[in-house]
Amino acid sequence: MRPSWDFGLGPGRLEALWNESAEVRGESPGQLAWKHVKASRAMRACLLLLALVGLTSLFAPLLPLPSPMALALETEPRPPRLFGSGQAWSAADYWELNPLDEKLLALRAKLFGEWQTPAWMGTDAKGRDMLARIVWGSRTSILVALAATLCSLLVGVSYGATAGYFGGRVDNWMMRVVDVLYSIPFIFLVIFLISVLNEYRSELSRLGVGPMTVFYVVIGLVYWLTMARVVRGQVLALRESEFIQAARAQGASFARILGVHLIPNTLSVVIVYLTLTVPSVMLFEAFLSFLGLGVAPPKVSWGLLAAESIEAINPIHTFWWLVVWPAAAMGSTLLALNVLGDGLRDALDPRHGKSNR
């Protein structure tokens, strides 16, 4: 709404100011992030790689890869080969697929027929194609990472925002709890918890809670601490600002102020810490699967592949393709996520540089 009085600025001056202010556009955190990604070559490359990994894992059943599950018992792993025809495949080589994957598989049968790639990355000791296992394994790893990150996001943001909103004594206590939790070696508790929950597999699955769900929730509940701290700091800074006071004066409820006014304003920082949580959760999944406490065969994940690769190392004859490819896949993805997260943090997090949390 343009004022009718010109504030004594003289003719035309208010007009100019008005037009100038109309041209100023705020940038949403998403836009800001995108701008920074576009500006840096390394970050673009990382984003491209991640998009590639994401798409191949999403559409894995569509690709003409051999089955990652069907066993062909052989005496030893076969080295990679570029040419040659893979054997024909059939839908019987796949099991435990969800409906969407079955549709994709049917589509693949139409697109590629019976053709499938030769073992470009070799096969493992049970005759399964390494490339297929890496691609299908990425599905588990990515799913775990995203679901667990989502859990940590929910807990961390609501906890941090509540603490920041109330401030004072509530904040003090809530953050003291976070400090205490920070100094517990959680991984031990998580392993302990998972080993106990494993005893209840059948009961839990009757309740509709699969072992994987337990896994995400448990990991998610561990990784919310940093998120809570960061969000709390932001909310604490924001809560005295005019627009929050205005909302409060108009009688907005606690939930509305938090959900509509405060949390969206913390998003830029949340995005940054999300990109940093995803790789650490992936690493943790790999860690647990490696110890035999995470993903169990016939499901495959990158952690499981890494565990198999370590077993494959021996002094007599090491099948290098069992070691190199899973490590390269996991390493490059994690590297890309880290580079992206660090870049975004430098760009978006106003507090970074002072405190290195």
Partner: protein, 328 residues
């Protein structure tokens, strides 16, 4: 200062109590008990086992017996109906109970055997991480943007991103099998420590390198450094006296989490290199349903990490007198 110590101790007691209680009830809620397996035992044998581990007691009594400090079994205090030979027991007196799987050992004995090994490995890893991470961080801060800096930063990012078991695999292939310089598994001599120590410390070295670099760059931009240079101090004095101390603050505060991470990471590393430390016992106990052992290790490591964090906070005030502990 005294208030800080008191408050910290109180929180520590509360945390430890929560950890013990939660894990105790989780452990006891497991159906079937620790001795149920495919092969069913003779009822008399089972009853004997349960009696030995006091599983036939009511839950509250088991809990109090486990927590301590009073020993509630037949050797306990006379006013509790015992013989009075052994008054104290339980976690509060440092006794973690018998192991369910290694039936001739108590958890304390297993830990006493394995903890020195894990601590030796952990200290080598931490030392390596601090020395290499610190020096590369300083090197790359001297010419930011230079070729050395870029190379070191790439290494550091890779080190943070790669899981330690991938690094371990690469090290084994390279130094163990290709060059045949170092033993790839086992325990006994110092050479057995090298590869696992490097693999365990690598991610932390990388992170410390990044922290040091940022800290150095920040410290070098301070006014007093310019003054020091202006009055003609040689560069090495400027670095060692005027910047390093400030630059190392973030590193010191990272040492607590780093030590915790190294203890955790040793779970995997000990397994890969077949090192008989506490970490591998812990993983085995989790897989074998040896709940007393895994609980004991959890309690031990919680104490260790909490203690380390506490020490780090104290060191912090020595390095930077501006930080007051009351606020921490």
């Amino acid at each position: 200062m005294r208030r800080f110590l008191l408050r910290r101790t109180l929180w520590f007691a509360l945390t430890l109590w929560a950890v013990i209680t939660v894990s105790f009830f989780l452990m006891r809620s497991v159906r079937g008990g620790p001795f149920s397996s495919e092969r069913s035992l003779h009822p008399a044998v089972e009853a004997n086992l349960e009696a030995r581990y006091h599983l036939d007691w009511p839950l509250w009594k088991q809990y109090l017996h486990y927590l301590g400090p009073l020993n509630l079994d037949e050797q306990g205090a006379t006013w509790l109906g015992g013989s009075g030979e052994d008054l104290w027991g339980g976690v509060l007196t440092g006794e973690l109970g018998p192991s369910f799987k290694y039936r001739d050992f108590t958890v304390n004995e297993i830990i006493a055997q394995s903890l020195p090994i894990s601590l030796a490995l952990g200290s080598v890893a931490l030392l390596w991480a601090v020395l290499v991470g610190g020096s590369t961080g300083i090197l790359s801060s001297l010419r930011p943007g230079g070729r050395l800096d870029l190379g070191l930063r790439l290494f550091a990012t890779a080190g943070v991103a790669l899981p330690n078991f991938v690094i371990a695999g690469a090290l084994i292939l390279l130094f163990g099998f290709q060059l045949e310089l170092l033993p790839v598994a086992g325990w006994g001599s110092f050479s057995h420590l090298v590869l696992p120590g490097i693999a365990l410390g690598a991610p932390f070295a990388a992170y410390i390198s990044r922290l040091t670099r940022t800290g150095m760059l920040e410290a070098l931009a301070q006014d007093h450094v310019r003054t020091a240079r202006a009055k003609g101090l040689p560069e090495h004095l400027v670095l060692s006296r005027h910047t390093l101390r400030g630059a190392l603050l973030p590193v010191v505060s990272y040492l607590g989490p780093a030590a915790a991470g190294i203890l955790t990471g040793s779970l995997v590393i000990e397994r890969i290199f077949a090192i008989p430390g506490t970490g591998s016992h812990f993983v085995n106990s989790a897989l074998n349903r040896d709940y007393t052992l895994s609980m004991g290790v959890t309690i031990l490591y919680t104490t260790l990490v909490y203690g380390l964090n506490f020490l780090v906070d104290l060191t912090y005030t020595l390095l930077d007198p501006r930080i007051r502990l009351e606020e921490a």
